[in-house]
């Protein structure tokens, strides 16, 4: 049969953003693919060279619009490495809780967006409904629904409000039941299994070699999580274990594994939050004033030339990295060079090649299961 190229994107329901996938199909079978990025390249790295270290945080919020908190945290750890700041423990706990709430919201957004990919519209609305719970919580911290600008170099912008802990616990406990509800809806639906199982196999070593990270490699049985392997924050003090999916007889991960590992990761995040809110130093119902030394350490604003800061952070889609070189404009007030490593930038070209051999109808299933986010990809 004749083969033809189909250009999917930039405006296409499959893309979850703005990029182009060129697919060469033979009938319904995909024989070649090619990814094309850069439709929302905004030059954040260049703009950051004209901003001081506090002003960069909002840009990092806007890198990935689904997980602003984790990206801002990721940047802040690099800035703290550069400026040599030690963070109060309470601030680390609050950051952990905020980041895990954001992870729940982000995975819910993923599951919601994955529903229409497979054809289930109800899943979308249900997940977005539950996501609102966590957005409300984060809104109490940051003041906005999506871009919080919450962490600061040396701590956090403001402490958790009084009563936040109770609302957090109630919502997380409710959500633990909702996870069961989703699994009841999805795992017991033969159509869901038929669409996901055996589709989009990716081998563990290939993925690691290609730079894929996060839940996508944990789905293939790779027990690697930045939160314990390159530790930051206080993850060693709270109760959790990395969500890793067991490999089946065919080695590697299929879409179903990637779905399972994210569901499991949501459970672990719930567990972490419930534990951390109890262990938080200073008490969960105390509210320290802005700038109190319990939540914000004094931090220098200038970094000398030759200094560098690096952070390795478990974002919701994989490992994000920031590399900052100090000594920019304003006698070191700005970074000289800020480099951002986005997990999806590496993953998307890899996933495009993973689709080869499957059907056209599997393209959204495979692409969606890797959870693409184009904001961070194009930067």
């Amino acid at each position: 049969m004749a083969q033809m190229w189909i250009t999917m994107g930039p405006q296409h329901p499959m893309t979850h953003g703005l990029w182009t996938l060129r697919v060469k199909v033979d009938g319904e079978t995909v024989v070649d693919t090619e990814a094309e990025l850069g439709y929302i390249h905004r030059g954040v790295e260049k703009i950051a060279e004209a901003r001081d270290f506090t002003q960069i945080t909002p840009y990092c919020d806007r890198l990935c619009y689904v997980s602003a908190m984790t990206w801002a945290n990721s940047y802040i750890y690099a800035a703290e490495d550069l400026l040599e700041v030690e963070v109060p423990e309470r601030a680390e706990y609050v950051r952990l809780i905020a980041a895990e709430c954001q992870r729940l919201a982000s995975h819910l957004m993923w599951l919601g967006a994955y529903g229409p990919d497979i054809g289930s519209l109800t899943l979308m609305t249900w997940c977005m409904r539950d996501r609102e719970m966590f957005l409300d919580l984060l809104q109490e911290l940051g003041g906005s629904r999506m871009h919080y600008n919450y962490p600061r170099v040396g701590g956090i912008k403001r402490d958790i409000p009084v009563g936040f802990a109770d609302r957090l616990i109630a919502k997380v406990k409710l959500f633990e039941h909702r996870i069961d509800e989703y699994e009841m809806m999805l795992d017991e639906s033969t159509i869901w299994l038929v669409r996901l199982q055996g589709v989009g196999y990716a081998k563990a070593e290939d993925m690691v070699n290609a730079g894929v990270s996060g839940p996508n490699i944990r789905a293939a049985g790779v027990n690697y999580d930045v939160r314990w392997a390159h530790p930051y924050s206080v993850y060693d003090q709270v109760d959790w274990e990395p969500a890793v999916e067991k490999p089946t007889s065919v080695k590697g991960a299929d879409c179903y594994d990637r779905y399972r590992v994210r569901m499991e990761e949501m459970r672990q995040s719930c567990r972490m939050i419930l534990d951390a809110i109890e262990k938080i130093p200073g008490g969960k119902n105390t509210n320290y004033a802005n700038g109190d030394e319990m939540i914000l350490a004094k931090a220098p604003t200038r970094a000398p030339e030759g200094a560098s800061g690096f952070s390795h952070y478990e974002c919701t889609r994989g490992a994000s990295q920031f590399y900052i070189q100090g000594g920019g404009d304003g006698r070191g007030k700005n970074p000289y060079r800020l480099s951002i490593r986005s997990p999806m930038f590496i993953t998307i070209p890899y996933v495009a090649k993973t689709m080869i051999g499957y059907k056209v109808a599997d393209i959204p299933a495979i692409m969606g299961s890797f959870d693409p986010c184009i904001g961070e990809t194009d930067r």
Binding site: P13, I191, A202, K203, K251, Y350, K353, A361
Partner: protein, 505 residues
């Protein structure tokens, strides 16, 4: 039994008001000789139009049902548009005294009505402007059927949209194929009776006719997909052709078994049979009912069988390039097909215009007198709306979409053998389990006892239903998920899964 409200008889009988009036008028004129045929033609025209309009406008109900039911399933409220904003305007902005623009002062009464409506149902008070802005789609938060007019608005909007033809499309076919789809879809409605007395036409082979007409639209879909000169529409059209071919055959076989069981190819006769023999077909062939629903969902291309318009990968499938009124018509044709499928299911399996336990109800002392007074058309409509709500809407928003190869495999390897089995079962039932002596007279409200066995009334339908329910529950609970750690379903690609190293071919 016959419905009491006999529209066709009212129009077409020679003593009826219409025909006798026409014949009386024509008496003494040169047309006197052909007065009979002339009045027949006029009466038929009237009947066809009345029935068709009833069917057509009642389908707005299913659009509304779907919109609201889906919203409730998704924890939303759904459309709330009411007609109020027509005269109140939006957020206090109105179009001014537009009725004064009408010539000859024709708009004066309209203006009076509008002012009255504005006064009584408009914003209560300018101090409540914010409240009313929020409540803009209702009168003080109350609407009669919230959102019913949303679909009216959608349809009217399509009328004024620009008509676009892609530059490299095949112009003629692109323009013609929507009409092919819409006209063939509307022809289905001509075959569908609302009750024994309300139908447009009633040929002897109406079952075959309905199914034959159902088979035309896929050609239009394929044409539409091909002529748009768009790769998504092309794939959608080809998928549609493959899928409809695969599902047409089980559908035909299922209807064949309906025909075998009731001994007729006429829809109305088959409904009469269900009443006279004493049991609806769904209790005699639950398998057939399930097959019919599954194949019908595939025929009307709804989730989980909506591959031809799979939104995730094919943008909007074969109608991606259609906009404006063409799209509106295709959209409506889709729903008319669904509606027709609901009607057919009601007629073939749910006893048409008969109430449940019609015989028992009719034998009761007081109720029995009232039962024949319930209009059959209402019962039919309610039944088909319920079928739409419970089967089509629920399936669409609870399930995911399956893949083309899986659809075809399911169709050819599961549905087709089961449909053949159903034909055999129908033959066995008709030949060995059916006792013609038990058939009641056609207009006996009590219904018949044709499906008795061993002297026990209704034994055959009861046993059949129990058997198939048992099969269903066994199949439902046969999976032990804790034991089955392997993937149950694997994809067959040209290379075994897991052996392809991406990027190194």
């Amino acid at each position: 039994m016959d419905d009491k409200y006999d529209l066709v008889g009212f129009f077409l009988s020679k003593d009826g008001l219409l025909r006798s009036g026409i014949i009386g008028v024509l008496e003494g004129t040169p047309l006197e000789e052909s007065a009979g045929s002339l009045s027949f033609a006029i009466a038929t025209f009237a009947v066809v139009n009345v029935v068709f309009l009833m069917l057509f406008f009642s389908q707005f109900a299913i659009l509304w049902i779907e919109r609201k039911a889906v919203a409730r399933m998704q924890d939303r409220y759904g459309a709330t548009t009411a007609l109020r904003s027509l005269w109140v305007g939006e957020n206090g902005v109105t179009a001014g005294e537009w009725w004064n623009m009408l010539p000859f002062g024709l708009g004066k009464p309209l203006g009076a009505v509008n002012k009255w409506l504005n006064k009584n149902f408009g914003n209560r008070d300018e101090n409540f402007a914010t409240v009313d802005r929020v409540n803009n789609r209702s009168w003080m938060g109350k609407t009669i059927v919230p959102g019913f007019f949303q679909n009216v608005a959608d349809g009217m909007k399509f009328l004024v949209k620009e008509h676009m033809v892609p530059q490299r499309a095949d112009r003629l076919i692109f323009e013609v194929s929507p009409f092919l789809i819409v006209s063939s879809t509307l022809l289905i409605l001509g075959m569908i009776p609302l009750s024994s007395g309300i139908y447009a036409t009633n040929p002897d082979l109406s079952i075959l006719y309905a199914i034959a007409i159902f088979g035309i639209a896929p050609i239009g879909v394929f044409f539409a997909g091909w002529s748009s000169n768009n790769k998504y529409t092309l794939i959608g059209g080809i998928r549609s052709a493959a899928q409809l071919t695969a599902y047409e055959i089980p559908l035909l076989l299922t209807l064949l078994s309906v025909a075998i069981l009731s001994g007729t190819f006429n829809i109305i006769d088959s409904i009469h049979f269900q009443h006279s023999a004493g049991a609806w077909n769904i209790f005699l062939m639950p398998l057939g009912a399930a097959l019919f629903l599954i194949t019908m969902i595939a025929e009307v291309e709804r989730v989980p069988f909506d591959m031809p318009e799979a939104e995730a990968e094919l943008v909007e499938g074969w109608w991606t390039e259609y906009g404006g009124m063409r799209f509106g018509m295709l959209f409506m044709a889709e729903y008319i097909r669904t509606y027709a499928a609901c009607f057919l299911f009601t007629h073939f399996f749910l006893g048409g215009w008969h109430l449940p336990f019609h015989g028992t109800l009719a034998s009761l002392p007081v109720v029995g007198a009232a039962v024949p007074l319930v209009p059959g058309a209402i019962i039919t409509l309610v039944k088909s709306w319920l079928v739409f709500l419970i089967v089509f809407v629920w399936a669409r928003f609870a399930l995911a979409r399956i893949r083309t190869d899986q659809i075809l495999e399911f169709g050819w390897r599961m549905l087709l053998p089961l449909a053949v089995l159903q034909v055999v079962l129908a033959l066995v039932y008709r030949l060995y389990l059916f006792s013609p002596d038990g058939m009641s007279a056609k207009n006996d409200p009590a219904g018949g006892m044709a499906w008795d066995a061993f002297g026990i009334p209704y034994l055959v339908p009861i046993l059949t239903t129990l058997f198939w329910l048992g099969v269903f529950f066994v199949y439902l609970n046969d999976e032990d998920k804790s034991v089955n750690q392997e993937r149950m379903f694997h994809v067959h690609t040209d290379k075994p899964a897991g052996t392809v190293t991406p990027g190194q071919e």
